[in-house]
Amino acid sequence: MDDFSALLAGFQVALSWHNVGFMIVGVLLGIVVGVLPGLGGPNGVAILLPLTFGMDPTSAIILLSSIYWGALFGGAITSILFNIPGEAWSVATTFDGYPMAQEGRAGEALTAAFTASFIGAISGVLLITFVAPLVAKFALRFGPAEFFAVFLLTFCSFIGMGKDNRIKILVSLCIGFLLAGVGMDTISGDLRMTFDVAELMRGFDFLVVVIGLFGVSEIFLTVEEGLAFKGKKAAIDLKVVLRTWAGLPRYWATLIRSSIVGMWMGVTPGGAIAASFMGYGLAKRFSKRGDNFGKGEIEGVLAPETAAHAAGTAALLPMLALGIPGSATAAVLLGGLMIWGLQPGPMLFVEQKDFVWGLIASMYLGNVAGLLIVLATVPLFAAIMRIPFAIVAPIILVVCAIGAYTVGNSIFDIWLMLLFGVVGYVFKKLGFPLAPMVLALVLGDRAEDAFRQALLGSGGSLNVFWANGLVTTLVVLSAILLFWGPLSDLVGWARSRGQGKPALGAAE
């Protein structure tokens, strides 16, 4: 098999000493990022991205994707020990993780969470290994119209499948598109939407926006909620780990179900957050011990963690194969590809074989390394949470500011970061989802280019979007996804009216 030998070559690339070193550093940094409130996956990667401009792209993406794995692992630590989700996708982990810690079973809960994360991630990587090349090969036939249709599909599924207020998702997407449009137009050379402000000529860099939206705003939210970190003690020794592992095969059904849910939600941009809740909800419904959920049931830790990690990993599939990220962090990584001079999209599998397979191999290794490191270092990272917020917050904010500055060596960007910090705070309080905005900001230019080129080719006629079977299918699928949510709401509403009581299962 051609791809198999490519994967083996990838392992050779990923297993070189300095790449393994980057992997370990990345995982450690990622855990820190995942543990600390105010630093998250997208934000942590965004801050470090400028430091990698001079690096070899393969090493750079191994470092950054390892941060991503670390952040996925790290989120579970705070959820279980402190009942504070370090990341939004680990909210569901607190439901059963914290009760377990209260019962003194913290070590068991943590082992279960990490192992579940690992299983989820590996299933995501397997999906990428086998499916991504096929998708990429298929996508080589895409023209501008097809690409625009795929973008459309992404955005429509965001709106249709999203759990937030759909108008708010739509508005959030529009803001992202418009922010992407600010500055010099690459085709005509016109200055767009700058309103004669010289600083806006460069446009809005997505990294600055991400650091503000996800980093600074998170600090505002944390102080507002007045979090007091009161954690449970955790000691993980080999005995606990082995005992927990011995008990895991019993939950194979939950693990498989959550992996599938996670992979699906990751490829379609439902995201890790939705996946973790769905995994939890499904496990609760199908488990024999469903009534125990919320009281410290190990299955309630396994289900969301597997799903979240599977989704987080699978989100990289469309990013690699199509150049369309499935999550905010994947969007930031995609932006990195462009900065390192790689053109994301299906051609990546043809032109940059070493890079792609090196990355895929590093996903396997990174997750193995992540599991071992996180099991070994839990007490250390739990200790980080005991540092008073008054010390942690200024450090995070200074690092955010440095990150924002290094993107374009501009102090104006630090102001923008502050502005988007406030925007992020208000938007989060009002229930505007932020991920669509980042996605649209990263993809905006490329979606617009595809749209323009498609229209140029057809002389301005919109018929190009149903000119052949492929593009028509994509457009129809987009429409179905777009209206799926509103229609199912309507059906649920009608049914609950008919029965005179709320529809069961609507919560999931």
């Binding site: 418009l178 767009r192 904010l397 290094t406």
Partner: protein
């Protein structure tokens, strides 16, 4: 930690705050304003067809969707059930972070990022509370110093520097 003690005081006036509806309305009005600005700008440059889509073509179309969505949000905002956005004491806490942070950004230009970070940390920590004076001093010296070593010396990333660094020859 006195941070939590500040907030957990169960005082009645502290439970009041701006209503969520008011904030929703203000935000949707701002969004409508932005949408109008986008449309004005796009049509000003040309959003039609001139041998190909003009530069305002795509933003204008997104702008119309944006405007429609924002108008819908405004309508929705009026039907928002009464709730508060955040209590005044919570907003005060946010302001306590925002104030020093804004000061920090102002100081970056004249003093450089490291000195500004030191001042920021020294101002921020007593305001938020929960740290003793020697921790404050240690943190505000160490944080910029570590950043300096990491970025300036290790990664060779040039960050804004001011008179203080110039004194040491950087």
């Amino acid at each position: 930690m006195s941070l939590s003690a500040d907030i957990e005081q169960p005082d009645d006036p502290g439970a009041r705050g701006p209503s969520k509806r008011a904030v929703e309305i203000v935000v949707s009005l701002i969004l409508i304003g932005l949408a109008a600005a986008v449309l004005y700008d796009s049509y000003g440059r040309g959003a039609g067809w001139n041998g190909g889509p003009e530069s305002g073509f795509f933003p204008a179309r997104v702008g119309w969707i944006f405007l429609a969505g924002s108008l819908f949000l405004l309508v929705q905002a009026f039907r928002e059930p009464p709730a508060i956005f955040a209590t005044w004491s919570q907003l005060l806490m946010v302001a306590k972070v925002f104030g020093p942070l804004a000061l920090f950004v102002v100081l970056v230009e004249p003093l450089g990022i490291y000195a500004a970070a030191a001042i920021f940390t020294a101002v921020f920590m007593p305001i938020v509370g929960g740290a003793r004076w020697y921790t404050v001093i240690a943190t505000s010296v160490l944080v910029p110093l570590v950043c300096f070593v990491v970025f300036e010396i290790e990664f060779l990333v040039p960050l804004p520097k001011g008179p203080l660094e110039a004194m040491f020859g950087y």
